[in-house]
């Protein structure tokens, strides 16, 4: 007689892990389809519609790319902080404040484009870093959980943007009701409406990935993130690393905000962050904080978001997409754990 037993393996085989990831996505979509079917929709027609309008035309692909880019910035922002064991829930706020600072430069500093654009990028990064500065120092010196502080800063940044865009910085021409005037400079496009923000994001992801593997600092951050006690034991400057990494995290989200305002939208307006900062958390977690992984998961999330927009035009709310992303996260978490298990067939002892 044989009996079956599950055994947990210390490492999940990469092929199994990947297969289970794909399976979890398929299951999530199937679950959503089942619910849609139950509520009287035709899931197959909806699915075909989503696919054809996303991948079927260059317009669809361009829209997709515009969603892809901010998700990379925010995903990288959260991922970088995760590497040192910090939860940056505030990419949303840093994104907003980075956009705000970049807009300030564009509106009030005049000069040639090749000076103003980099200056806006720097302003965006500094803005993002500033927005995470207080939570960072509170965490580094008083051990205040950054989870709460970064989250709370989001609302402040969001309201600040609303106020500026509808008040002091409101478009004086009277053409727009709730935005600033169109920025005099913009990030140039290289394909249709897709601007250079995307390739720069991809380059940053590659650079970060090399950084974590091939630099001494990357190693130290890895140790400090996994066990600060061991990092102190080896004499690493844990606090300086934490501050540096968290500021970098804020800067990445801020740069994303700058690209959004100067490349995609063209004006500063309330809600410009479009929840990218929060979805960035999901992007980073699904990528297990690996910068190259962020590229894949950000793309995937972009497809889902785009699908949501298409579904909206079919009379469904965006909540459908949120539900699907939630399901994917749930199934992926189960799949990641399941990938560690191996089924053993053992011959039961006689007797």
């Amino acid at each position: 007689m044989t009996s079956m037993r599950l055994q947990r393996m210390p490492l999940a085989p990469p092929r199994v892990a990947f297969a289970l990831r794909v399976l979890s996505v398929v299951l999530a979509i199937l679950t959503a389809a089942l619910v849609l079917w139950g509520s009287g929709h035709n899931p197959l027609a909806l699915g075909a519609k989503v696919i054809s309008s996303t991948f079927g035309s260059s317009f669809g692909l361009e829209d997709l790319s515009l969603l892809f880019s901010p998700l990379i910035y925010c995903g990288l922002s959260v991922a970088v902080a995760l590497r040192i064991g910090a939860w940056n829930i505030g990419a949303e706020g840093q994104f907003n404040f980075g956009a705000l600072c970049a807009t300030g430069v564009a509106l009030f500093v005049s000069g040639p484009v090749w000076v103003i654009l980099p200056l806006m990028g720097v302003a965006g990064m500094i803005g993002g870093a500033l927005w995470i500065l207080v939570p960072t120092l509170a965490r580094a010196y008083a051990d205040v959980s950054e989870l709460i502080t970064t989250l709370l800063m989001n609302f402040v940044a969001m309201l600040l943007v609303y106020w500026l865009a509808t008040g002091p910085w409101l478009d004086p021409s009277g053409m727009a009701l709730a935005t600033t005037s169109r920025l005099p400079v913009s990030v140039p496009a290289f394909w249709g409406i897709v601007h250079w923000g995307l390739p720069i994001a991809i380059l940053i992801a590659i650079a970060l990935s090399l950084f974590v593997t091939y630099t001494r600092w990357g190693y130290e951050v890895r140790i400090a993130g996994a066990n600060p006690g061991a990092a102190r034991y080896a004499g690493m400057p844990v606090r300086t690393q934490l501050i540096g990494i968290m500021l970098l995290s804020g800067a990445l989200a801020g740069l994303g905000g700058m690209m959004e305002v100067a490349g995609t939208v063209g004006r500063l307006q309330g809600g410009i962050s479009n929840n990218y900062g929060y979805i960035g958390i999901m992007v980073a977690v699904l990528a297990r904080a690996a910068p190259i992984g962020v590229l894949a998961t950000a793309f995937f999330m972009a497809v889902l978001l785009n699908g949501g927009i298409v579904l909206q035009s079919q009379g469904l709310t965006t909540h459908t997409v949120l539900a699907v992303t939630g399901l994917i996260l749930l199934y992926a978490a189960i799949g990641d754990e399941a990938a560690h298990y191996k089924i053993l067939r053992t011959k039961a002892k006689d007797g």
Binding site: L11, Y214, R216, R222, I223, A226, A230, A234, M236
Partner: protein, 523 residues
């Protein structure tokens, strides 16, 4: 094995007396691990039954089943002739099984009387402080365990706290008392008092299960010994028929050579001390944890630090390795003031440190074995050049360290927490020995190792010493200190009670110093 009738007769019981506790083919599985496999165990009234085994042999799991913390996956548990299936620790307590854990479960801010009555169904609903104390005093006399009911637990010595813990368990009518490594926190004198109390307890027809890995005391206190290995019972023997050697062999499962002799270090060349501490104090969060520590450490010696755990040994290692900066005093390494040098600088100057709590301060358990193995040498060529880090260099170094540490690693990308405790210890020890050009600080290096591995590690320490490195060996095993160190310093409440050469030291005087007697006040 002898049939049970003869067991009862040899214990002085009437034939046919049922065991207090009987386990039949008890098995317990965790994912990927067999914690216990078909364990049989009978514990009779009046006996002290020792449970022996290496770390990870399944002692704790088995006792957690007996005390209702875990449910067994197969087998039977019979208490006083009745088959039981405990669904919670409360059930086990009601059945008369009580356990004293290694870490006491007392409320430190409460008095002894309050602790005894806490969470006890028999505590009257309305009761005055006075009657609480009278009841406690009565219990203490009845059960023969002297405690002061009015004393606040935080003010008691570890031995006294343990007595309170035992009294609390016995007050709930325990017939079977389980003690988990009870002497680990006691001085030899306190251990002797405990043994007397245990004998009085079993003389009343009760039983004790005594978990330990100290062979010597197991031989002293128990009537019978059950040895577990890899979750299975290897044997139950009469203590009279056992020797340290036979037990060690049963535990490890192969012939091992206990290091009997050891050559003392060559006559010390009148060298300058490699490290000098003068008047070093360290303030903790509430009180001073190190008080005016002064000593010299010479190249080529092993300085043993004796003392009950928690008397400042950890803080001492932190100060010497630069993890903590002393609040006052001075530390000089080879003529250079290193009081505020910091951990990195001291490691670079050749101080290796095998920390007490390797998993939490010496390793990053979730990271790969490679990352962990290179923790000391990642910053210098060939691993790092101008800020660039070479993963390949790291992998090579990790392989090298694992091979001299004799650790079989199936995959160096595997998280380090998946290594067994013993392998982690070996890896950390080897990593630290590589950088210990001047000093090696080893805090409880034998924890988690089997007898054979302890021997190997001690042999490495002796080799290091003979090559001129100073070794600071912190241990709670007096035996180990007496056989391997050249001098022994004894710590108590953050102070050094005294230092003496090992050949002039004996367990008795060291025990007195461990309990707080200064060397100059010794009889």
């Amino acid at each position: 094995m002898r049939d049970s009738a003869s067991v009862q007769q040899r214990l002085g019981l009437t034939p046919g007396t049922p065991p207090i506790l009987s386990l039949k083919s008890v098995s317990k599985y965790f994912p990927g691990v067999i914690a216990n496999e078909s364990v049989d165990l009978d514990v009779y009234p009046g006996e002290i039954h020792a449970l022996l085994g290496e770390n990870g042999a399944g002692k704790s799991t088995l006792m957690n089943i007996v005390t209702g913390i875990y449910k067994m996956d197969a087998g039977e548990l019979i208490v006083d002739g009745r088959r039981r299936d405990f669904s919670s620790p409360t059930d086990a307590i009601e059945a008369g099984i009580g356990m004293v854990h290694q870490h006491f479960k007392l409320v430190r801010a409460f008095t002894v009387a309050e602790n005894i009555h806490l969470g006890w169904p028999e505590t009257p609903k309305r009761i005055s402080r006075n009657s609480l104390e009278t009841r406690t005093a009565q219990l203490a006399t009845d059960l023969g365990l002297a405690v002061n009911p009015k004393a606040v637990v935080a003010d008691l010595s570890t031995g006294e706290q343990q007595r309170v813990e035992i009294l609390r368990v016995l007050a709930r009518d325990a017939k079977l008392l389980i003690l988990d490594e009870p002497t680990a926190v006691l001085t030899p004198q306190e251990a002797r008092e405990l043994f007397t109390a245990l004998r009085a307890f079993t003389a009343r027809g009760n039983a004790v299960i005594f978990i330990s890995h100290k062979l010597e005391e197991v031989l002293e206190i128990s009537d019978r010994i059950t040895v577990l290995r890899n979750g299975e019972k290897v044997a139950t023997e009469w203590t009279k028929d056992c020797t340290e050697k036979s037990l060690a062999q049963l535990m490890v499962g192969r012939e091992i050579v206990l290091t009997e002799t050891h050559k003392k270090s060559a006559i010390r060349v009148k060298a300058a001390p490699v490290l000098s501490l003068s008047d070093v104090s360290l303030k903790g969060e509430q009180d001073t944890v190190l008080k005016n520590i002064s000593f010299d450490l010479y190249p080529g010696e092993i300085l043993g630090i004796a003392g009950v755990a928690g008397n400042g040994q950890r803080e001492l290692t932190y100060v010497i390795s630069g993890l903590s900066q002393p609040s006052s005093g001075k530390i000089v390494l080879d003529g250079e003031d290193v009081t505020r040098a910091g951990a990195r600088a001291l490691a670079q100057k050749g101080i290796g440190h095998i920390p007490e709590d390797r998993l939490h301060s010496g390793m990053a358990p979730t990271l790969s074995i490679t990352d962990n193995a290179v923790l000391r040498e990642y910053g210098a060529p060939p691993l790092s050049r101008k800020g660039w880090f070479s993963p390949r260099g790291a992998a090579n170094l990790a392989r090298e360290i694992a091979s001299i540490a004799e650790v079989m690693v199936p995959d160096f990308n595997m998280p380090a927490r998946n290594l067994s405790g013993g392998n982690q210890q070996r890896l950390v020890a080897r990593r630290e020995m590589r950088i210990a050009e001047r000093i090696l600080i080893a805090a409880y290096p034998s924890r988690g190792l089997d007898v054979g591995a302890i021997n190997t590690m001690m042999r490495y320490f002796l080799e290091l010493r003979d090559s001129g490195v100073a070794v600071v060996l912190i241990s709670e095993e007096l035996e180990e200190l007496l056989s391997f160190s050249d001098r022994i310093a004894v710590m108590f409440h953050g102070e050094i009670m005294g230092t003496c050469p090992t050949d002039k030291a004996d367990a008795e005087t060291i025990g007195l110093m461990m309990g707080g007697t200064r060397q100059e006040d010794l009889p």
